[in-house]
């Protein structure tokens, strides 16, 4: 054990002497802090803005004058998507999902105004978020810290000395990993501390703490994999130069190329209909439903016969309820069902694309870690979909309640001229959306969890199997 610590200390000493590395470490740590503060600032101002407009919209709803309920169906309701408390740490898909959603009768709108719409092409290079610093920059820092860890000893000729002093290859590599891990911890600590401080300041409730711990575990496992890989590659390389070249190439492939290639493959394998095509499809499907603005539309004639029979009257004028409201309600049910079906078809394409990405996560731990990170932060696609489906449920409930008011409070005679008193509007429920639970989103990601496990297991196995060969790697080349 003391051997391991001695070697770890030796590695830390070597890193501290290296002015390039110390500079890089300071840079990454500083960037970490800047990224948390900036992301938090942005998230707070966004949240404040959405809360402000939500309050305005809520007030406007409650303060509506006397109105016909169908007028209110078109007046509709605006809801703003609230970001998860840890969205500042990992914004996930948030920038690409809309933030404001207009809920009205007859239609299912899509949310509009995501951050990405307001950004220039700068965004296509990536964003400076705490998650990006941990997921993209820290691996590179680990590579810089450890590429020469074993190969450097070999080049300097000190490896045989260390071995001669009784350290086994396994202990040497464990010590090296420990030393490099210490550097990674030092670089990641500022982000962790500032994030924890913000979570504590936000009330530190149990779900937020659990999510933070899940994030910490994700990045700890991901970065541990990088440390092990770095030691492994360094131990297998004859020269530090070769080790560095290999590690940088691995980083480029896993962190830069793989996610984008994944996007491209997913799009190629499961193409998505464009907005224009989707709208045309919905329109086409909706044509089967009659015009609910027209109480005499033939689409509703079966329904009319049913109502006339039930109330035993000869015409809709004689019904004790307002026939126009009934038609409106029935029309809403039919259009909502079709809209939802169409939307589910679109979501099915998303899910097929997501599967491609999840499988690719097995090859690129960066993808897997990002997937788990956004799940833990509550900013994954399921959070966006939860908002959409909850908003849709809210929309449907409100619209049908207005249709009921239309049916029971408005007379059929001279329908359009009537108004309902203002107090009706204050009795409507307020929209609340909930995040899917942490347990559920993690359980939905078996592939990503497996990928992260594999990411640690593979280099560990490589180190274990290759430990006997440690003294011999590159020996013939050096003696040449």
């Amino acid at each position: 054990m003391s051997n391991i610590l001695l070697i770890a200390r030796r590695q830390v000493g070597a890193m501290r002497e290296d002015r390039y590395f110390v500079f890089l470490l300071g840079l990454v740590a500083a960037l970490g802090i800047v990224s948390v503060l900036a992301a938090r600032h942005h998230a707070a101002s966004e949240a404040e803005q959405r809360a402000r407009y939500q309050a305005v919209v809520d007030r406007q709803w409650a303060e509506q004058p006397e109105r016909h309920p169908h007028r209110v169906i078109h007046y509709g309701f605006l809801v703003f998507r609230e970001e998860a408390p840890l969205a500042f740490f990992d914004p996930g898909v948030g920038a690409f999902a809309g933030t404001s959603l207009f809920l009205e009768g007859h239609r299912q709108n899509s949310a509009s105004f995501g951050d990405a719409r307001h950004a220039t092409a700068m965004l296509s290079f990536g964003r400076l978020t705490p998650a990006a610093v941990l997921g993209l920059l820290l691996p590179l820092l680990i590579v810089a810290a450890g590429f020469a860890s074993v190969s450097g000893e070999r080049e300097k000729g000190t490896l045989p000395l260390i071995l001669a002093q009784g350290a086994t290859p396994a202990r040497i590599m464990a010590g090296k990993a420990l030393g490099i891990g210490a550097a990674a911890v030092v670089a990641a600590l500022p982000i962790a501390l500032v994030t924890a401080a913000f979570v504590a300041a936000g009330g530190g409730d149990q779900p937020a703490v659990a999510r933070m711990l899940a994030l910490a575990a994700t990045y700890a496992a991901y970065l541990a994999g990088w440390v092990l890989l770095t030691v492994w590659v360094s131990s297998r390389s004859a020269s530090s130069r070769a080790a560095l070249a290999r590690l940088v190439a691995i980083w480029v492939v896993l962190c830069v190329a793989a996610p984008r290639l994944g996007t491209s493959l997913a799009n190629a394998l499961h193409p998505m209909p464009s907005r224009a095509e989707f709208t045309a499809q919905v329109e086409e499907a909706q044509r089967q439903v009659g015009d609910s603005h027209n109480p005499d539309d033939p689409f509703f004639s079966a329904l009319r016969d049913e109502y006339l029979a039930r109330y035993q009257v000869a015409s809709v004028e004689e019904l004790p309820i307002n026939w126009a409201g009934v038609v409106s309600r029935e029309g809403e049910a039919a259009t909502s069902r079709i809209n939802e079906e169409q939307h589910q078809e679109l979501l099915a394409v998303h899910r097929r694309q997501d599967r491609v990405m999840a499988w690719l996560g097995l090859l690129s731990p960066h993808l897997a870690a990002r997937d788990l990170s956004m799940a833990a932060a509550g900013t994954g696609p399921e959070a966006v979909e939860a908002f959409r489906s909850q908003a849709e449920a809210h929309r449907y409930a409100i619209i049908q309640r207005l249709n009921d008011l239309h049916t029971h409070e408005i007379h059929y005679e001279n329908d359009r001229a009537q108004r309902l008193a203002r107090q009706h509007w204050t009795q409507f429920p307020v929209f609340r959306s909930d995040l899917p639970s942490l347990r559920r989103v993690l359980a939905d990601r078996p592939l990503s969890l497996a990928a992260l496990g594999l990411w640690i297991a593979l280099p560990l196995a490589g180190l274990g199997l290759g430990r006997k060969r440690l003294p011999r790697v590159g020996v013939d080349r050096l003696s040449r």
Binding site: S112, F113, A116, M122, L128, R260, S274, R275, A276, L367
Partner: protein, 500 residues
């Protein structure tokens, strides 16, 4: 005669040097693999780019067909006595912006924004900002277009073949031997020449594959139009200059007397700083300096402006309407009954209420675009990316130009239909074949306006890098043979008595 011989033997020596170097670079592990991978990725990206163009063209055709179908359906459904205003409530007219061929190279915002809106005669502000049907998870993972490959990945390849251009020879101990055959300056020129040829060949192959796959009009394109004005030429020039910038940077770093590992760390660090950190920091600064509250503001205002009108006497709404359309102020609508003219005037009231917020929103986006363009000139990869997006008309400014074109179209539609609405004409009185069609936005600015600043910035950046390297090289002390050729540690310091 003799001079010619010398010259030709010099040229042969050059060719041999370069051929030898090429063979050596290609033999070294990974370079060929990387080149083949990049080529494969590039062909995939170009093919995807071509598919994107086709999808956009299909979407435009679908929008047109859907409009025709909808019109036929509505006409068949309503009795001929129905007022045209009722049909126009539903009718959505296509406003499709054609895509440029170059958008296969630089896809820009095409995945986020819809360029095939369909516009109803209702309030416009609620219809302008429709998002494409993107999968947010894929969008967040980033995209692989040819521009990304050329701007982000090719520089890494340049680094991989040049970082040990001198230090590698020194560390292997072959520099002395190589110097016997040629002067160092000439040797270096030959080594760099070989690598420029290798990378140049790769980039050219990628560009040609892209051009072939998307049938880009490299030559002979019309001087105007979305692909005209030498846009492809500027794009090619920018990519070439950007690649040369990286050669300059690598040369500046790699010809100093550092170890190969120190060179590699510095160059990869520079790559991360220029292709990830600087854009991310600038993007963040841009967002903080130019916040966009107006996006939510205009949504709220438009909805309120329109719906309030239902609770006001029609004359109030009409007064507001006449302010923007004085030519119709002699027309009145009845106070006590519903008319379609009043209905569309109420919709116009929604747009009026949102106008300030909408203009402010547009201003902020314009500021963001201009700010990004200005500051990107300091960061070569970013300057190249923004310029390529602009040349391909897939940038923010082009999106705003499209929105303006849609606004103009909406106005033309209003001008066309207002007489019909005020006359309360029935559907058969409308000649649907004469309804105005959308006039696409012209490309934002000339090709040279997009390309020239970025090209200048790239040339200046390359010169700066080389100058700095030269100044530092002449200032560096102690150029003894031992200091030159002795082994160094990973930080580039000499190891006293270390093994060769």
């Amino acid at each position: 005669m003799r001079a010619g011989q010398v010259k030709s033997s010099g040229a042969t020596a050059w060719a041999r040097l370069i051929r030898l170097e090429l063979a050596r670079v290609m033999r070294s592990g990974g370079v060929t693999v990387a080149a083949v991978l990049l080529l494969g990725l590039g062909i995939h990206a170009a093919w995807q780019g071509n598919r994107r163009i086709q999808a956009a063209e299909d979407a435009a055709a679908v929008a047109e067909t859907a409009y025709r179908d909808q019109l036929a359906h509505l006409i068949s459904r309503y009795p001929p006595t129905t007022e045209a205003g009722e049909l126009l409530y539903y009718l959505a007219l296509p406003a499709s912006q054609p895509v440029s061929r170059l958008s296969a190279l630089a896809s820009g915002r095409t995945e986020v924004e819809s360029a095939n809106l369909r516009i109803r005669l209702l309030a416009l502000e609620g219809q302008l900002y429709e998002q494409e049907t993107l999968n947010p998870r894929l969008a967040a993972a980033g995209k692989l277009d040819l521009a990304f490959l050329l701007i982000a990945l090719i520089p890494l390849f340049v680094i991989a073949v040049t970082y040990d251009i001198v230090s590698g020879e020194r560390e292997r101990g072959t520099w002395d031997m190589a110097r016997l055959f040629a002067r160092p300056r000439r040797l270096l020129a030959g080594k760099i020449g070989a690598r420029v040829i290798l990378v140049g060949g790769l980039v050219t192959a990628l560009a040609l594959a892209g051009a072939f796959l998307v049938e880009a009009p490299l030559i002979g394109a019309s001087p105007t139009g979305i692909d005209g004005g030498g846009r492809a030429g500027w794009a090619a020039a920018l990519v070439a200059l950007h690649t040369l910038f990286w050669f300059a940077l690598c040369l500046g770093v790699a010809t100093r007397r550092r170890s190969s590992t120190a060179n590699a760390m510095i160059l990869v660090g520079a790559w991360v700083a220029l292709t990830f950190l600087a854009p991310a920091v600038l993007s963040l600064a841009n967002a903080v300096l130019h916040p966009v509250p107006e996006a939510l503001e205009l949504t709220v205002r438009q909805r309120q402006g329109y719906h309030e009108a239902w609770d006001l006497p029609p004359s109030v709404t009409m007064e507001d309407f006449y302010k923007d359309y004085p030519e119709w102020s002699d027309q009145t609508v009845p106070e006590d009954e519903f008319t379609w003219a009043w209905y569309y005037a109420m919709n116009h009231r929604g747009d009026q209420a949102a106008r300030d917020a909408s203009l402010a929103y547009r201003d902020v986006l314009t500021q963001r675009d201009e700010w990004a363009r200005r500051w990107s000139l300091l960061v070569p990869p970013l300057a190249t990316r923004l310029a390529l997006d602009r040349l391909a008309a897939t940038d923010l400014a082009s999106q705003l130009a499209y929105q303006d074109a849609v606004r103009r179209y909406h106005e033309r539609l209003k001008a066309h239909f207002l007489p019909i609405l005020f006359a309360a004409a029935p559907i058969p009185q409308v000649d649907w074949e004469r309804v105005p069609s959308f006039e696409p936005a012209a490309p934002a600015g000339q090709a040279s306006q997009a390309g020239f600043p970025a090209a200048t910035a790239l040339v200046l950046a390359s010169i700066c890098v080389l100058l700095v390297a030269r100044i530092r090289a002449t200032r560096a002390p102690g150029r003894t043979e031992a200091a030159r050729f002795g082994p160094t540690d990973r930080a580039g310091r000499r190891i006293p008595g270390g093994r060769r």
